[in-house]
């Protein structure tokens, strides 16, 4: 399915999971993008960091727990997951609380990385 062009894609996740469908349906776009041989990265800033918390249990809320999908991303060769340090700190979330390996970046580094992309899609 490659189009012969390789672009740098960044998917920016700013929202908590479950309150809205953006995190779940955003992840579906990320998975599809893996089939196109592009340079894909994911950024988690602001409430988006909550998407990666360990121990999500949606049984009582009656919704589908899609958090295991973040662990499956590696199998799709999507390995560039960036989390903003200031967002973690403002929420009292530690890197050890996250369910996948990520690279933690300061806000300035995150802004620089965004500035290097060709396509930025925020959910």
């Amino acid at each position: 399915m490659s189009e012969g062009v390789s672009k740098r894609f960044m998917f920016v996740n700013r929202k908590a999971p479950y309150g809205s469908v953006y995190a779940l349906e955003g992840l579906e776009v990320v998975l599809i993008s893996a089939a196109f041989d592009q340079d894909v990265s994911l950024a988690f800033i602001d409430d988006g960091v909550y998407q990666l918390l360990r121990g999500q249990d949606t049984k009582a809320a009656g919704m589908k727990n899609f958090s295991p999908t973040y662990r499956a991303l590696e199998g799709y060769d999507i390995e560039k997951l960036y989390v903003e340090r200031e967002s973690l700190e403002a929420r009292g979330v530690a890197e050890a609380d996250l369910l996948v390996d990520v690279k933690v970046l300061g806000r300035e580094e995150m802004a620089a990385l965004m500035d290097e992309q060709d396509v930025v899609i925020g959910f």
């Binding site: 908590a16 409430d47 909550y50 249990d57 009292g92």
Partner: protein, 97 residues
């Protein structure tokens, strides 16, 4: 009055608006994405709580987000049945949308 808030205070101003209008004897219930305000990492929530206002959080929504172990002291977790009981116990209910 039972005030219901459903958005993260990091994303929206609804919790702040609610707390600015809550009065002694009222209860505030955090549901959906607002449950992130009930964690130890969100000390600002309790700091802004007016005197005499009690704060509750919906545990199914806290669990869904992996935050069940992070509940701050002074906030009471309730299930959907507890949500119903709160609505019945307070004479009025107001959702902050």
């Amino acid at each position: 009055m039972l005030h219901i808030v459903n958005k993260s205070p990091h994303e929206r101003s609804t919790l702040a608006a609610c707390l600015a209008h809550a009065r002694a004897g009222h209860a505030v219930l955090l549901i959906e994405d607002a449950v992130v305000a009930a964690t130890r990492g969100s000390a600002a929530t309790l700091a802004a709580l007016p005197a005499g206002v009690s704060l509750y959080v919906l545990s199914p929504d806290l669990q869904a987000r992996g935050l069940a172990g992070q509940l701050a002291e002074g906030i009471t977790a309730v299930d959907y049945r507890g949500f119903v009981d709160l609505v019945a116990a307070q004479p009025r209910v107001q959702s902050w949308l």
